[in-house]
């Protein structure tokens, strides 16, 4: 059974000109106990998506269309007071940067107890303290240090404290926004393992948002690749990082060093993400895609389902080895970039 069911979600931000379409027509589900990864470059809408799900969009952000169903209830329709009951108790978050995610003027204990008392008013002090001690134990922190202030903790400890707080109420869904980006690689690994263990223990689902492909590979069952506010491709981790169909996924995969073929060239995707206040009418990635045709630039691609993948690309169903090997070759991307800049120069000279 799915914990979260998002369909055709549009999240916009008001700007001086047209609204910025940060999340545009996104649909997906998260199953019970499942870990879903969301990857994409900065500004692709992944953090906005998380904020919309938990209900903490900034004032200028709003859900324009679509639904966020949690446990069969559409959260976007609930009034604030009722929505608040779902926060933390059902959907909690591990914030982006451990450094600033805790209030500097209260102790860690006060902040965890605050969450408990807000949602379970009858809870006594002793019981709350027991939960704090138990959570500290779980994340590998000394319960004695619960009365420390955040600044007395190292970065890794703060992230552990954040995780302890996020899991204290045993929520059904945890949104982890770049849970380990601020940490060094060894700490990153420890923390990810610890999250996995606790999560299996309380059987919660998790949505991991990151631009680090290795984090997703390590923790997730399924991945969504987002580009320019839309889903580019979605599928099981092995497929997405095995033989994807979307040129963006293929490029992204080659943009990270591969441990088995360490001497292969890294690929760089030139250009910038589309302007979200005035998105292109065709495929959002067409501007930067070396395989793009006129159809790509004018017609929005529909979903193609094959091999367990959902791919938004016109050529997903006719992709062959030639197409894939060209998309997988850094030279193709470089040539396209050269051709485009030559064209730009020519236009300027005209």
């Amino acid at each position: 059974m799915s914990v979260l069911d998002i369909s055709d979600l549009e999240v916009y931000y008001e700007t001086e000109s047209a609204p910025a379409q940060a999340v545009d027509g996104v649909s997906f589900t998260i199953e019970e106990g499942e870990n879903l990864g969301i990857v994409g470059e900065s500004g692709c809408g992944k953090t906005t998506l998380a904020k919309a799900i938990i209900g903490i969009l900034p004032d200028e952000g709003y859900v324009n269309r679509g639904s966020i169903e949690f446990d069969g209830k559409d959260l976007t329709e609930l009034p604030d007071v009722e929505r608040r009951r779902y926060k933390w108790e059902e959907i909690s978050m591990i914030a982006q940067s451990a450094m600033n995610a805790l209030d500097p003027v209260y102790t860690i204990r006060e902040q965890i107890v605050e969450a408990i008392e807000t949602h379970r008013p009858g809870t006594g002090r002793t019981e709350s303290n027991e939960i704090v001690a138990e959570m500290f134990d779980l994340v590998g922190l000394d319960p004695e240090r619960a009365d420390d202030y955040p600044h007395q903790f190292s970065g890794g400890m703060r992230q552990r404290a954040m995780i302890a707080m996020a899991l204290a109420l045993e929520p059904s869904l945890v949104l982890a926004d770049e849970p380990t980006t601020a940490l060094d690689v060894i700490m990153q690994d420890q923390i990810l393992k610890r999250i996995g263990e606790i999560q299996a223990d309380i059987n919660s689902s998790m949505m991991v948002i990151t631009h680090d492909v290795s984090v997703v590979a390590e923790t997730c069952d399924r991945v969504i690749v987002m580009y320019g506010g839309k889903i580019a491709e979605e599928g099981p981790v092995e497929e997405i990082f095995g033989e994807p169909y979307h040129p963006y996924t293929i490029g992204l995969k080659r943009a990270f060093p591969n441990i088995r073929e360490s001497d292969q060239d890294l690929l760089s995707i030139s250009g910038y993400p589309p302007e979200l206040t005035d998105p292109p009418s065709g495929c959002r990635f067409a501007e930067r895609c070396p395989m793009a045709t006129n159809e790509c630039r004018t017609v929005e691609p529909k979903a193609h389902h094959q091999d367990g993948l959902r791919t938004y690309c016109h050529y997903a169903d006719e992709i062959d080895d030639g197409f894939r090997s060209r998309a997988d070759d850094p030279k193709t991307w470089k040539d396209t970039e050269a051709a485009r800049s030559a064209q730009t120069v020519a236009e300027v000279n005209d």
């Binding site: 904020k51 938990i54 209900g55 903490i56 004032d59 608040r84 009951r85 779902y86 926060k87 933390w88 108790e89 909690s92 978050m93 914030a95 982006q96 940067s97 600033n100 995610a101 805790l102 209030d103 500097p104 003027v105 605050e114 969450a115 807000t118 949602h119 202030y149 600044h151 954040m162």
Partner: protein, 325 residues
């Protein structure tokens, strides 16, 4: 470093600061053009009589002897006698300082409570019409000279409507057993309300604007997002988390501003005929009344120095990140 040794060290620094202020004051007044005895000795006096007066104030001694004597006396809080009235300086300060403090403190407390609350609200409701109106009002209040606003208030409510007294701290002919007996009378409050309101209106802008920008900075931090995700009520986020963090810069600002307020009360005291220390200080300088001027200036310096010290201690209490080293 422990908190105790921090306090001790700061207290020692305090002593050095007082000495430095006293020394600067002493020499500055002696460098000032004009003869301090001009007001006490008249042209008709014989040179002998004149010399006698000068000697009686110790003004014939070499400067360094005068300086050492000044320091010795200052240690016992004895600032000498007024050249003008022969009244001991301590008594002069004792008479006028409480009047200034009552006026300043009541204006200050009102201004800071209002300013902080409005600052929290304007920071929270950024971009609303409420915010824009409040900020414009605060800036206007901050830009208008207090003596001008004071005069308008007097003209409108005093001379025009007759609802406030035109001058002074009490109705003539009343006498009271003590200072405390006096300030809790309706008559006193009636006299206090106009100058205090004018001052509060002026002071309010500063904490309001600081609090507002501090709030906006705090609200952009990640932990506010976490608070919202935790499902806390809007009021808990606004006051318990955002305002609590935003309050820190106000502490230092308030300490310095209050110090200046006690010194900068001259204009408002003059307009409203309030018998305060500021007015007395200006008169003392104009009359070259060194002892009174030195004494009043020392009191003002002490106010600023001590308030800063309190601010430091308070900061350490409010912000757990402060370390004492």
């Amino acid at each position: 470093m422990s908190k105790a040794s921090f306090v001790v060290r700061r207290l020692l620094q305090l002593g050095v600061t007082f000495w430095a202020v006293g020394t600067v004051l002493f020499f500055l007044f002696r460098l000032m053009p004009g003869d301090p005895t001009a007001f006490v000795v008249s042209a008709q006096m014989t040179p002998e009589a004149r010399q006698q007066v000068i000697e009686s104030y110790g003004l014939n001694e070499p400067l360094y002897i005068q300086y050492v004597r000044f320091l010795e006396n200052a240690l016992t809080l004895n600032f000498g006698q007024s050249f003008h009235t022969n009244q001991p300086v301590r008594e002069v300060i004792w008479t006028y300082l409480p009047n200034t403090l009552v006026l300043m403190l009541s204006a200050f407390v009102v201004a800071y409570i209002l300013g902080i609350v409005l600052g929290v609200l304007t920071g929270w409701y950024r971009g609303s019409r409420f915010e824009k109106t409040t900020v414009v009002t605060a800036l206007t209040a901050r830009s208008l000279p207090t003596f001008y606003v004071g005069l308008i208030v007097l003209w409108l409510f005093g001379a025009g409507l007759g609802v406030i007294p035109m001058s002074g701290m009490g109705t003539a002919g009343q006498s009271y057993d003590s200072f405390w007996a006096r300030i809790f009378t309706l008559d006193f409050l009636h006299h206090l309300v106009a100058p205090a309101a004018v001052l509060a209106f002026y002071y309010m802008g500063y904490p309001l604007l600081i609090m507002r920008s501090s709030m906006m900075e705090v609200l952009s931090q990640d932990f506010i997002d976490v608070c919202r995700a935790k499902g806390l009520s809007e009021r808990a986020i606004m006051f318990k988390h955002a305002a609590r963090n935003a309050l820190l810069p106000i502490i230092t600002a308030a300490a310095i501003a209050l110090g200046y307020a006690v010194g900068g009360s001259v204009l408002i005291e003059t307009v409203f005929g309030w018998p305060g220390l500021g007015r007395e200080m200006v008169n003392a300088v104009l009359r070259r009344d060194f002892p009174v001027a030195q004494g009043t200036f020392m009191v003002l310096a002490a106010t600023i120095i001590i308030l800063n010290f309190i601010a430091d201690l308070l900061y350490g209490y409010l912000d757990p990140r402060v370390t004492y080293d």
